[in-house]
């Protein structure tokens, strides 16, 4: 499926209360994770290049469907005024782990009972990572 089918879905908790929309999907790259699903490993040759990218969790925003413009990272906070505006637009945004997703339909995404909300912001990029 296309990742965009997940982004923008309406998110509901176990009691059917609407929590917001899926703003972004967080993947974890490589690393000794769980074994790759058989289908994916055969189809994509996972681990060959940059390594397997496994869906780790979702970022859910109650207010804004729009991008964070990069300010979701803890080390990105200037100019302060833009940071503040985006922080306000995305107030209440949280992160849930993919394990906590119970069911996905064409328009909705339901979370399991007892899901936990985490801080959505990304830790600082380690020095030199992803730099030319």
């Amino acid at each position: 499926m296309i990742l965009n089918d997940l982004l923008g879905l309406d998110v509901f908790d176990d009691r059917g209360e609407r929590l917001g929309k899926v703003l972004d999907a967080r993947f974890v790259l490589g690393g000794p994770g769980r074994a790759a699903p058989a289908g994916a490993a055969a189809g994509a040759g996972a681990g060959a290049g940059a390594g397997e990218a496994r869906l780790e969790g979702l970022i859910i925003s109650p207010h804004s469907r729009h991008s964070y413009l990069g300010y979701e990272r803890l080390d990105m906070n200037s100019p302060a005024i833009i940071n503040a505006i985006l922080g306000w637009l995305h107030r209440g945004t949280f992160y849930v782990q993919w394990d906590m997703v119970e069911r996905v339909t064409a328009h909705e995404l339901h979370l399991r009972t007892g899901y936990r909300r985490f801080d959505p912001r990304l830790p600082p990029t380690p020095e030199g990572e992803g730099r030319p």
Binding site: L7, F27, V28, A44, G70, V104, F118
Partner: protein
């Protein structure tokens, strides 16, 4: 959002799809631009069915480009056969741009570039010369 606890430490580098992958430029192994990441293909999630606890999470299988961009802008979804794929296993490096291990010309996504080169540019004198 600041009072939420940080999520459990993941085992590898974290990539947010919107921030790190979608709309980034893709260059081939000679640093020639190939396309941008117009969409991502992930392993299928069964819709409308409960996801069993501990089921393997989806992984990225391919970068998509071409007509799929229009569906991200205007909505709708492209026919599956019209998707132009670059296999995830061909991605070697994810930084400010995504780098591939293959030649751009060998990829299906560059057919328009090759068509214009062969049908238009090659027929104008000087098209194959270095600028002076």
């Amino acid at each position: 959002m600041t009072d939420l606890p940080p999520p459990p430490q993941a085992t590898g580098r974290l990539l947010d799809a919107q921030l790190h992958l979608l709309d980034r430029s893709v260059v081939d192994r000679n640093d020639v631009p190939v396309t941008t990441v117009d969409a991502l293909e992930i392993t299928d999630i069964e819709l409308d069915a409960p996801i069993p606890r501990g089921a393997p999470a989806p992984v990225i299988t391919a970068l998509l480009s071409g007509p799929v961009l229009a569906t991200r802008i205007f909505g709708g979804r492209p026919p599956r056969s019209r998707l132009e794929r670059i296999r995830w296993s061909d991605v070697t490096d994810i930084g400010i741009v995504l780098k591939l291990s293959v030649d751009g010309d060998s990829l299906a996504v560059t057919w328009v570039e090759r068509w214009m080169r062969d049908k238009i540019i090659a027929r104008i004198p000087g098209g194959h010369h270095d600028p002076e």
